[in-house]
Structures are given as structure tokens and as C-alpha cells.
Assembly symmetry: C2
Homo-oligomer: 154 residues x 2
DNA sequence: AAAAATATGTTGCATTTACAACAATATTAT
DNA sequence: ATAATATTGTTGTAAATGCAACATATTTTT
């Protein structure tokens, strides 16, 4: 009888997907509430570029977990808004488009981070920081193991 | 200096999204590998219907975290395949479309669960069961708190 | 009693996303 | 050296997804 089986809603898989979804919605709602004129994904990309100056598109794609096509489009938007610059360079002797955050992008990123900071503090009131840290570490460990099992075509 | 700030890739948010993504890809790849002739979401919906016989569409939508439109479409597909039946009933004096799993759907669900089971055992080799359980509980707690903060328009 | 709000499901559309094909170049194999 | 393979980015397209609008019916408010 499969009644004894764990159903999907009782699985880690489900909880993960649902939590990630809720977190994403929270993020999007926060961007709107704070009247931040960037898509969430653009903000994420901008933040990653800021601490990986000179990263190439494909490596960025791996970090933001989008395919190359969409990563390119996100970067087009950031470039049009003058928040990043792109330039051709080489990586392993190959021509790649690298990018860096601009002065303007930097200022905007800081202002967003400042706005977001107080909100993050709020989240910590909800669940203890220790618990969040433990959660983070467990997730990271699990994710790294799981990543070895799949083939990401990015 | 925002160098002292936590960057997005170091946040729980990022880890959550990435882990969920990896898990979903694993799920989809598993469905293909096992030659299961259902979309992952269809399987999830079927499983939930199986343990919530007579659930209505909107309640199901909340469980599978899709909007009502897409939930309806998933159910159309399951119905066309003869895996569920839908019927009109009332809920709080309102007419709703409820559904139940069919004999055929039941058989297919069991066969899929059997196939998946051995794979789930594999996952447990990767990270200890205790750790997975702890992760699950922390996630659930966090998610339930976060859910209070957002408004899901389903 | 009439009007407004709520609950449910469907349809249509616009956005997002992924995937496949291509172009250009570099590396590796034959 | 030539061919095959791999890396990177772009373009085009198809699928997935969400959202707004609608239809219907019921509850709540005025």
C-alpha cells in the first residue's frame, strides 16, 4: 500500500521548492516595495559582477543559474542602464566578453544594499541566526553533492 | 565599503534557490532516465491528488505552488490521460471542481513510486538521513514563517 | 434589497525561460 | 595538416509561467 510511502508534500524536495519560491516572491515584493528600478535577477547579477570584476558571461551564468542566452539578455539590460561595461578579453586564449561594474552601477548597488539591509535584519527576527546559519551550511553541503549528480548545460 | 557586506552568492537566499534548482533538474532528469511518461509537475499533482482525494483545484494549486490557470492545465492533461477524474461538487456552499485519482492513475503512481524509491535511497547515501531530516525541519519552519510575510495570489 | 466583496475556475496574452542552431575561434585527434 | 571537438556568445523559437480579465455564484456590507 503506498499509503505508507512518503508523499511528495512531505519530502525535502517539496519543502525546498516551496521555500525557494516563497523567498523569491519575498524578494520581488521587496524590490517593488522599496521602489527599486531593477529586476531581481538584474540586481543579483549586478551584485555578483561587483565582487567578480572581470568575470565572463558563461561563468556568471553558472553563478546566477541561468542559461547563456538569458544571462546575455540580463547583461544587455544592465549595460543599457549604464550599470556595467562589457569588453572583449581573453580567457584560456579564447575571446570572451568580460564585464565590470561601473561607477553608477556601484552607487546603485550600494543604495540597494543599504535599503535591503534593514529588511534582512527583519528576517533574522523570524528565525534565529544560528538556525539560519545551520540551514545555510546544510543546504550548501547538500547542493554541492547534488551538483555532482547532474549535468548542467550552461 | 560594501566589501564587508554579504554578497548574494553567500546568502541563504541564493543557496536555497540554487539547491531547489539542482533538485528540480535532478527530478526531471530522473523522469527521463526512468522513461516515465509524465511531466514532473504532473507526477507531483497526481501524487497529491492521491492523498487528498476530493481536493478542489484551488487547494491543489496552493499545494503545488502554481497559479490556478496552470493547475487547471496540468489537470486537463492528467484527465486526458485518464489518470484522474474531475467532478463538480460543493465546498462551503460553492460549486467547485473536485478530483480523484483513477484506478489507472493509481497503478501508474505506484509504479513510478517504486521506480523512484531506489533513487531516493541513493540520495540518502550522499547526505546522512539525520542531516536531511534536520534540514527538512528547519526549512519547513522557516518557510512557514516566511509565508506569513507574503501574499500569495492563488 | 441592492451593492460590494469573495471564491472558484477558465481564457487570453505577455513575459520568462529553456533549448536548439548558429557563428567564431581554439584545442585536440587523426 | 586536416578534421573533429570544445568553448563562448548570440539569435530564434517553442514551451512554461504568471497575471489580468472574465464568468459565475455566494457571502458580506450598507
Amino acid at each position: 500500500m503506498y499509503k505508507k510511502l512518503k508523499h511528495y508534500t512531505d519530502t525535502l524536495n517539496y519543502e525546498l521548492e516551496k521555500t525557494a519560491r516563497v523567498m523569491r516572491i519575498l524578494g520581488i515584493q521587496l524590490m517593488e516595495k522599496l521602489k527599486i528600478d531593477l529586476m531581481l535577477d538584474e540586481y543579483v547579477a549586478l551584485d555578483i559582477v561587483s565582487c567578480h570584476q572581470g568575470i565572463c558571461q558563461r561563468d556568471l551564468a553558472k553563478l546566477i543559474i541561468k542559461d547563456r542566452a538569458n544571462t546575455g539578455r540580463i547583461l544587455n539590460s544592465l549595460e543599457e542602464k549604464g550599470l556595467i561595461t562589457r569588453f572583449v578579453d581573453t580567457k584560456n586564449n579564447r575571446l570572451v566578453r568580460k564585464m565590470a561594474i561601473t561607477e553608477k552601477g556601484y552607487k546603485i548597488l550600494i543604495s540597494i544594499n543599504k535599503k535591503v539591509e534593514s529588511y534582512v535584519a527583519e528576517t533574522k527576527r523570524v528565525v534565529s541566526e544560528d538556525e539560519l546559519d545551520g540551514l545555510y551550511l546544510s543546504l550548501k553541503k547538500l547542493r554541492e553533492k547534488l551538483e555532482e549528480m547532474i549535468e548542467l548545460k550552461i
